[in-house]
Symmetry: C2
Subunit: 491 residues, 2 copies
């Protein structure tokens, strides 16, 4: 062992501060023992000799030896300091070398290994990527001011885990808002704040279903929901979607009755259809008969441009077995990580009790700021502005599609949210087109890829989902012209 | 139908703005139809007549009728506007009235219905509640400044979903910090930011185990971990803990081999023991042999007062099958909701890929602010201050216990973190004492209640866990005197 080299490979600072000589020596010796540079059974240099050799105080050496002794790395006796054997090291090294760690431990769980996977990240800067709002139009200065105000009002004792159900002020603001804007029947107690729709879905899957239970998902449908349900150990049952939304047959109810139904009734993801009133009623009726829960994901209904959306299923009938999910990711911004679920009144106490065991809320400043943003009218004002802006962007995109690709594609969704759906009329497969445009930096999501399992030949769903939130009207024409030239090149 | 009363029961504002007459009328009619005040099959008043009766513009009535027609609530024909039947309402009402909703849907899932439950909320203001730091000692003004600085540097495009693994700056700061302070072997890529240890545990359970797999938990052990594992559908296997930490026998390994082992080796929760080096090695060896993962929850090791804690299991041997969990809830404040997991290098790509499907990160300002807080040395400075402060509080509490209850209890944990453990020497059961002191507003957690299932007669674990983070030295004596008088009253 070359003691001179000992202290050369160890980091010398901790959180901006220099380590002391004794800490450095301790850490160096510990590493050398663990890495086998000092072998077990060997004797360490006497403290005085080591201090001299390293040119440090003897007390520093004594400290390091004592700590290593206490921690069980060395045996100190009259005969000197003998390095002990740390079991486990050989086993781990052998397993790693033989590839056994990768083979045995290395695999993640089955449930996450075959998750339905999306090709692109939600933050992918490609212009037609759906799901992210026009962030450069968000009134950031106003929000910053709300946050600063919130932080100034917070008392130290509010920095704890916080109310697991959410801050009372925010729950109240949301309840008032959705009662009017979405026809939801609820009191503030029924509103539970979560860290985003993904978190809401995780909680729903765990609180309302057991591993092995069936959940109906729209087919084609939202990847994030399918991933959450699969991660919770549920069994996905894909149900076809048509122009009037999800279309279960009596046979579906009979043969594969669900414990949960996941629906995007206001603006089906990805097809854009609106679930008809008749189907809403029939689904409620059947859900009640089968003891199933409806999860109503109302992710972007606030952003409808042609008049208001059909009110929520939750509010359609009293006592409907519905958990209503809303989010501020589309209407505010995704990094906020603020969403909510609204549960039936008779479950409030149980959900509250359960959340206090499995969830932690915190984030009090963000919740106070958001409540203030809503109550002061800034939220409604921002929404009105964004609705107009998205309508303009949608119109520009539709015009460009009709101009450049009217013979190849037909816009098939109605006018809401931040994305539209087109049917591919040319004799091509959507996933091939998606790959080709993606290679040109213009990814457009193929509808058949949202099927469960992804269908390469789903003639029904041969088309694309195009986000337009980030496509400025003046850019639409050039972008679509580029898309068109890729598609024509394939014919 | 009294049309005059129609609009009196509907909310008139939305997000701070007054609703228009036409929206109000639409909403009022819709509610009346859904609630049965206007029966299905009945004919609405002609638009002109209704406008006159309500004293509003006829266009407002036409708008409301048209929207109701579009949405399927009424049928408009030459014969007038006929209210349609909304199915589902009768079924839901009947189910609710008969209590069937509560019976069939009402129950939450089995996995959450019998969660191990704690009696008190983590924010419970009772002085001995463990887990919440001395919030009034947190340098709130400094943190506020870090947050404001972070918000000023953020560009709109950073408001998206963000890197699912965490902000690179924060991952780097944490990796540097734990390498030195905890002997963790890692690069920044192995660090994944989460929204708190509860979220880390949820992710570990889902990514590293399937429903039905076994997880070893310390007995007695941490409620939050047990809840997370049970919610993920795992099977809990309690393993006894003694003065040297978790103590599995060869029989445990043989008969109930785990997929996951949940450990609090630096400061066992709740007993306070430190897992010996020998056991660490043996557990690694066995975990490798059985293809099991060790989850090392290092929740409060930064707050040791008598010298630094034993370095992490993660860093003990190379390639150890360990997922290391850290949190800022104890060292900063719980409402921050910021924690991390450090996974083995060979799993980085898979975990990254999985998180992008099942988790959303966001919260970019908080992450930038925290990285700044660490890198600038404020974090280390705050920790040093808190260590001194907690040591003083612990000493004052131990003194008071020995003074007032030396004959009844013995302090049995060593000196770290924010809580201590005492053994009850008097012939009483800890849960009875806990109930009695709780009734006097002085809840102290009974150790036997941390057993799985909670054991009322676990002679081994007859004692209490007392948090002292919020017990000022000058208050300790009076509080313990009150505790003592309750306990003596029971003898």
């Amino acid at each position: 062992m070359d003691y001179g080299l000992l202290m050369s490979n160890v980091e010398r600072t901790l959180g901006g501060r220099k380590l002391t000589q004794q800490d450095l020596l301790y850490e160096s010796l510990r590493r050398a023992i663990l890495d086998g540079a000092i072998r077990h059974g060997s004797r360490l240099l006497a403290s005085r000799a080591l201090a001299e050799q390293l040119g440090i105080a003897r007390n520093s050496v004594l400290y390091a030896y004592e700590r290593l002794t206490e921690e069980g790395f060395i045996d100190a006796s009259r005969h000197g300091s003998i390095v002990k054997r740390v079991s486990g090291a050989d086993a781990a090294a052998a397993a790693s070398a033989s590839g056994r760690l990768q083979a045995v431990d290395g695999g993640l769980s089955v449930r996450v290994t075959d998750l339905p996977r999306e090709r692109t990240s939600p933050d992918d800067p490609t212009p037609f990527r759906p799901g992210v709002p026009a962030l450069d139009e968000f009134p950031l200065a106003q929000w910053r001011a709300s946050m600063e105000r919130a932080w100034r009002t917070i008392e130290p004792e509010e920095l704890g885990y916080g109310n697991n159900s959410g801050h009372p002020a925010l729950r109240r603001s949301i309840a008032e808002y959705v009662r009017v804007s979405r026809g939801v029947r609820c009191s503030a107690e029924q509103v539970f704040i979560t860290a985003g729709t993904q978190a809401s879905l995780d909680l729903c899957a765990c609180m309302f279903a057991d591993a092995g239970d069936s959940v109906w998902v729209e087919d084609p449908g939202y990847h994030g929901a399918k991933a959450a349900f699969q991660a919770a150990g549920l069994k996905l049952v894909p149900i076809p979607v048509d122009a009037a939304g999800i279309a279960p047959t009596p046979d579906h109810w009979k043969r594969t009755p669900p414990r949960l139904l996941y629906l995007t009734p206001s603006h089906q993801y990805p097809l854009g259809s609106v679930l008809s009133l008749e189907r809403r009623g029939s689904i409620i009726e059947n859900a009640v008969a089968h003891g199933a829960w409806i999860i109503e994901d109302d992710y972007d209904s606030e952003l409808r441009h042609n008049g208001p959306p059909l009110p929520s299923i939750q509010g359609l009938v009293e006592h409907a077995p519905v958990i209503y999910l809303g989010t501020f990711s589309k209407t505010m911004f995704p990094a906020l990580r603020m969403a909510f679920m609204i549960v039936p009144a008779h479950l409030v106490a149980q959900v509250d009790d359960t959340l206090s065991e499995i969830a932690r809320q915190g984030r009090v400043a963000e919740q106070i700021a958001l409540a203030d943003f809503i109550d002061s009218g800034k939220y409604a004002r921002h929404l009105r502005r964004m609705r107009r802006l998205y309508q303009q962007r949608r119109t520009a995109l539709v015009d460009a599609i009709e101009r450049h690709m009217g013979d190849l594609m037909t816009v098939s969704s109605d006018g809401g949210g931040m994305h539209l759906t087109v049917r591919l009329d040319a004799p091509l497969r959507d996933q091939d087109v998606s790959a080709a445009t993606g290679a040109q930096g213009l990814h457009i999501a193929a509808l058949s890829a949202f099927c469960q399992p992804p269908a390469r030949d789903a003639a029904h769903y041969n088309g694309f989902m195009l986000g337009y939130a980030r496509v400025k009207p003046q850019d639409a024409d050039a972008l679509v012209a580029r898309l068109a030239s890729v598609v024509r090149g394939m014919l």
